[in-house]
């Protein structure tokens, strides 16, 4: 156990304490009752959805995944299924799991604070909000054939044909990827030398790869929306 952890536990022993009964248990009890009441009242007034009997011959259009997966379905517009449906969620899960091991900043443990951990909080909040923004777009702004509609627009099948998509030639794609990841890894190492040194070589690389991958999703979305780019890199096996 690290010294810091020991200090934390020693410190815990010193903090002012109150009896769980009734101070904590009473609050838990009230919270549980409130949630039960809210759930039951809401359920009484708002029915759970139930559509027609499942019919393999008649696809829903649009067919939507449950809302919490709509962020992934939404990036299916910008990436092939193996990236949107498998690689991105896997990286998110792994990325979340490694957070405690790459964030070596001991400050802000056990209380809300922003200034002492600006980078961590900003990146996490960005990812959290990004995920929910995609869900909101997927839930409220996607109609038949996953075409875009504003929430106040009526869905119709008669939307303008999307402009044709172009892919970058491979030499340019490889070049762009090298620039993005190369500079992305090197520039912060130089510009924020103290930060990089604090992290150490391995942690720095993991942190920055995860960060660049997350921002990469945003970059690809931007490239598509602004320049109609389909793929950055095409190979016989997969496209990015």
């Amino acid at each position: 156990m690290s010294n810091h952890a020991k200090a934390q536990i020693a410190n815990y022993k010193k903090t002012k304490k109150v009896f769980s009964w009734p101070n904590l248990v009473a609050k838990e009890f009230i919270a549980a009752i409130l949630v039960t009441v809210v759930l039951l009242v809401y359920s009484y007034y708002v029915d759970a959805p139930l559509r027609e009997l499942a019919n393999p011959g008649e696809p829903e259009n649009p067919a939507k995944a449950p809302w919490y997966f709509l962020g992934l379905q939404e990036i299916l517009v910008y990436f092939d299924p193996w990236i949107a449906g498998v690689v991105v969620p896997s990286i998110i899960i792994i990325g979340l799991m490694v957070i405690p091991y790459i964030d070596v900043n001991p400050k802000g443990n056990g209380g809300y604070c922003f200034w002492d951990r600006r980078f961590a909080v900003t990146v996490f909040l960005f990812g959290f909000i990004f995920w929910y923004l995609l869900i909101i777009v997927g839930t409220y702004m996607r109609g038949p054939f996953w075409a875009f509609f504003w929430p106040w627009e009526a869905w119709s099948f008669d939307f303008p044909t999307p402009p044709p998509l172009i892919s970058l030639p491979n030499w340019l794609g490889i070049f762009a990827l090298l620039i993005y990841f190369g500079f992305g890894m090197l520039v912060p190492a130089v510009a924020f030398w103290k930060f990089a040194k604090q992290l150490g070589f391995i942690r720095y690389n993991i942190t920055m790869s995860l960060f660049l991958l997350m921002m990469g999703v945003l970059v690809k979305i931007a490239l598509r929306l602004m320049f109609n780019i389909k793929y950055i890199l095409q190979t016989p096996w997969f496209n990015i």
């Binding site: 810091h4 815990y12 009484y44």
Partner: protein, 256 residues
């Protein structure tokens, strides 16, 4: 008031009361401690907690609520199992029965459904609060990892339940989800490098999930078994570990 306290005193002094609770009720520090210690349900808690930890604005009750909603789902879920049969010829009709015939069936089904959504929301916000309070830092790193697993399991619990009504909504949502599975590199038949291992539509990961090449009776049964037995057991086991670690890691986090 005096009458009430008189009755409470009389009640808590009876032999029956004492045989159930194993300690007196008089308000002494010792009895407050025993209230937590000698109660199998409450002894999950430490006898004493840091003062800041009982502030609502520290945890927002989110972890506790996630767990409570899980319990709510377990109770309503078991009741639903009395009426629901995971058979493609019956499942949808059972839903209609629940909505129109079974006494309180509509409330049962609807509250199970909304509670499922609520749990997904509270677990996400629990994660957010743990992040913002930096509570994943040493010595609680591993409990965060357990938490991430619980997050994924919560999604999967909800997702497997989605197919069970056997309506168009669930059917096509599961179609979208499992088709993504088909694109898994190496392990899905449409994914990159599938040929390497000879992965085809009838032996890939999507096939394993659906129990066939399309969503049909075996898929419904698989969704049902995972939803009602498999994932709740795994998630329940991890929750036990998660709570145990909260205490072993030095109790709930707090400012240094």
């Amino acid at each position: 008031m005096n009458l009430i306290s008189y009755f409470i005193r009389k009640l808590t002094e009876t032999e029956v009361w004492k045989s159930v609770f194993r300690h007196g009720y008089t308000d002494t520090p010792r009895n407050r401690a025993l209230q937590t210690l000698s109660n199998v349900w409450l002894h999950l808690h430490p006898v004493k907690v840091p003062k800041h930890a009982v502030k609502i604005r520290f945890t927002w009750c989110l972890g506790g609520l996630t767990f409570f909603i899980f319990l709510f789902l377990t109770v309503t879920g078991v009741l639903l199992m009395f009426y629901y049969v995971p058979d493609v010829n019956r499942a949808y009709a059972d839903m209609i029965d629940l909505m129109y015939v079974v006494p309180l069936g509509r409330l049962l089904r609807t509250s199970h459904r909304w509670a499922g959504h609520a749990m997904v929301i509270t677990v996400c916000f629990h994660m957010l609060r743990v992040f913002l309070t930096g509570s994943y830092k040493a010595p609680r790193q591993f409990n965060w990892v357990l938490g991430v697993l619980l997050l994924v399991l919560t999604f999967l619990l909800s997702f497997t339940g989605y197919l069970l009504p056997w309506d168009q909504l669930g059917y096509w949502a599961i179609m979208v989800g499992t088709n993504m599975g088909a694109a898994t590199p190496v392990m899905g038949y449409q994914g990159p490098f599938a040929e390497l291992l000879g992965v085809k539509i009838n032996n890939d990961i999507r096939f394993a999930l659906l129990g066939g090449t399309q969503i049909d009776a075996p898929s419904l049964l698989r969704a049902y078994v995972w939803h009602c037995i498999g994932i709740p057991i795994i998630a329940g086991a991890l929750m036990i570990l998660h709570f145990w670690r909260v205490r072993k890691d030095g109790g709930i986090s707090g400012p240094l």
